[in-house]
């Protein structure tokens, strides 16, 4: 669908070639345990195992007094939680709000791993030059490499979130007897902020991969940049979920702007000449 949109927008010259590169990269990723395992393992831990364990613990523990903790939160957030019965507060707070920031690690990590494989990995496998000798425009190749990382990152995030929602609602059902995930802020996170974060991971890795000779080196270099971003994301998105919906939208917009800035700069440097000179 996205390739169709891109074709319609005229952003690429040869959509079939773009599709062929994406299909090749995705087939290769499916066969690579080193790439596939972290892509599946981390989201499973974050989006399934952790909410299940914490949710179960929260529903079975003796009802704690959260009033002091909630008093420290902004009124917009604290009020709906405080209005809940005491036995519901813990599970809603943990699975409905406090785990949410961790969700952003998924699109960031998946897009980073795939981008490192797509850009620096081609150099490492000595397959980059073969691609450069084919009749595909520089910008088409760049678009293919971006989409090949971006689409799976968003897909894994969305599927992961679906799993998270199912697990969270299931473990909380004995206490809540209703569906509480997703909230409206969760939806903004999923549909707006998560793709932005995936794009940001891509933008960083495109820059980093230009200097790295192997995917591992790119991941290490990227990690140095991405880790602070993760901490920032955790901190920010904790705040994000504590602030109003419009602010969340604005923060998502800022991440998109940063991501697009990095991607556009990366695209300008993504020329055959530069790539061949470093291949």
């Amino acid at each position: 669908m996205i390739t169709a949109l891109i074709t319609a927008s005229g952003a690429v010259r040869d959509p079939e070639a773009v599709r062929a590169v994406i299909a090749k990269d995705l087939t290769a990723v499916r066969r690579s345990r080193a790439v596939l395992l972290p892509m599946l393992l981390v989201p499973t831990l974050l989006m399934v195992v952790l909410p299940a364990l914490i949710g179960l613990a929260a529903t079975r523990a003796t009802t704690p007094d959260l009033s002091r903790f909630l008093d420290g939160l902004p009124g917009d957030l604290a009020r709906p939680v405080l209005e809940l019965p005491a036995n519901e507060q813990m599970v809603v707070l943990v699975n409905g709000y406090l785990l949410a920031p961790l969700f952003l690690i998924v699109p960031l990590m998946v897009s980073s791993v795939l981008a490192a494989d797509a850009f620096a990995g081609e150099k490492e496998r000595r397959t980059l030059e073969t691609l450069l000798h084919l009749p595909i425009a520089d910008r088409d190749l760049f678009a293919a490499k971006l989409l090949g990382a971006f689409l799976p990152a968003v897909t894994v995030s969305w599927v992961g979130f679906l799993a998270f929602a199912v697990v969270s609602n299931t473990v909380a059902w004995p206490v809540l007897h209703r569906v509480f995930v997703p909230t409206r802020l969760w939806l903004v996170m999923i549909l707006w902020v998560a793709p932005a974060v995936a794009a940001l991971g891509l933008g960083v890795m495109v820059r980093v991969s230009a200097r790295a000779r192997t995917a591992q080196e790119a991941n290490q270099l990227g990690g140095a940049v991405v880790l602070p971003l993760i901490f920032l994301a955790v901190g920010q998105s904790t705040g994000l979920l504590l602030v109003s919906l419009p602010v969340a939208v604005v923060i998502g917009g800022l991440i998109w702007a940063a991501a697009l800035f990095l991607i556009v700069r990366g695209a300008r440097r993504f020329t055959r000449d530069q790539l061949a000179a470093t291949a």
Binding site: K24, A28, T130, L131, L134, P135
Partner: protein, 310 residues
């Protein structure tokens, strides 16, 4: 002969290193040109410039009339490249590697599948077609990469070490294939190789590169004639020629040099017609002559002589 490839003063440097400096040469349609030279001579840079993946600092080039700088994708549609490293994705099968290339080249799915199957069979890879490339031998990888380079029946082929890693039988098949592509199908082949014997068998002309400079370009025989006047020949006399026999040979008009060797004598004459005269002189002196064999210089002789000059 129409020039399929032309370069004039093609120059490219990487930082302070001159990878290619003022390369001027041409290759006709259906011609095999060997680019010879040690590592770092500029062979790969030449191929990259001709296929439009590097931009020259100076100079121009044309490939089947197209400018690689401004018509890179058009050039790459009519060229096929075998890179020094096969450049295959180990995680994909041979068929998947080739299919991806075919689709990127714009072939329709059905046509691509048929071409891939045909090329894999041509290179004896039908049984390995659906196994990940990771387990393939060097020779198999080379054959897969060659099959990929030929998928779209290119007009111009750039082949970087096409037979390295192949066993003798596969080497013979590939050499014959390259020869037939040029002679029977009119394809132009630029062959980068360290195997001088292979280049000698295939190349119509050779370009000797050294640290980015073109040291010589032409037919091996013409280059040999520039290096060594006349024709070398070996006279098999059954034993080392005596000094007076060597002196007698040197007195024959048209003999440029003569020297004793364990089997007889080595001479250099202005023309092959001098050889029967030499045999007559020896017979008249009752020196037995078992053979008089012209020894034209091999491509290897020419190459190393040029390298020494450089």
């Amino acid at each position: 002969m129409t020039a399929a490839i032309e370069t004039v003063d093609l120059t490219r440097s990487f930082g302070a290193t001159n990878a290619l400096d003022g390369l001027t040469f041409e290759a006709g349609a259906g011609e095999v040109v060997a680019l010879l030279g040690p590592n770092g001579a500029g062979k790969t840079t030449t191929v990259r410039l001709l296929n439009g993946i590097l931009r020259p600092d100076r100079g121009t080039s044309r490939v089947v009339g197209l400018d690689p700088q401004t018509q890179g994708d058009d050039v790459r549609r009519v060229t096929g490249v075998l890179t020094e490293h096969a450049g295959l994705d180990d995680r994909l099968t041979a068929r998947e590697n080739l299919l991806a290339t075919a689709r990127i080249r714009g072939m329709a799915a059905d046509h691509a599948a048929a071409r891939v199957t045909a090329e894999l069979a041509r290179f004896g890879l039908a049984e390995r077609a659906d196994v990940p490339v990771a387990g393939a031998s060097t020779g198999e990888r080379k054959r897969i990469a060659l099959a990929r380079a030929l998928l779209h029946d290119p007009e111009v082929l750039f082949l970087d070490e096409p037979t390295s890693g192949l066993d003798p039988e596969a080497t013979r098949d590939v050499v014959e294939l390259i020869g037939s592509l040029a002679t029977e199908h009119g394809r132009t082949v630029v062959l980068c190789t360290h195997f001088l014997g292979e280049a000698g068998r295939l190349a119509d002309r050779m370009a000797v590169l050294d640290r980015g400079h073109l040291r010589a370009f032409g037919r091996p025989a013409d280059l040999a004639a520039e290096l060594w006047p006349g024709l070398a020949a070996e006279l098999d006399l059954g034993a080392e020629a005596a000094p007076e026999v060597v002196e007698a040979l040197l007195r024959v008009p048209g003999v440029l040099s003569a020297a004793a060797v364990p089997s007889g004598a080595e001479v250099r004459v202005e023309h092959r017609d001098v050889l029967p005269v030499l045999v007559g002189v020896l017979v008249a002196r009752e020196v037995p002559v078992y053979a008089a064999v012209p020894r034209p210089p091999t491509l290897e002789d020419v190459y190393f002589a040029l390298r020494e000059q450089a």
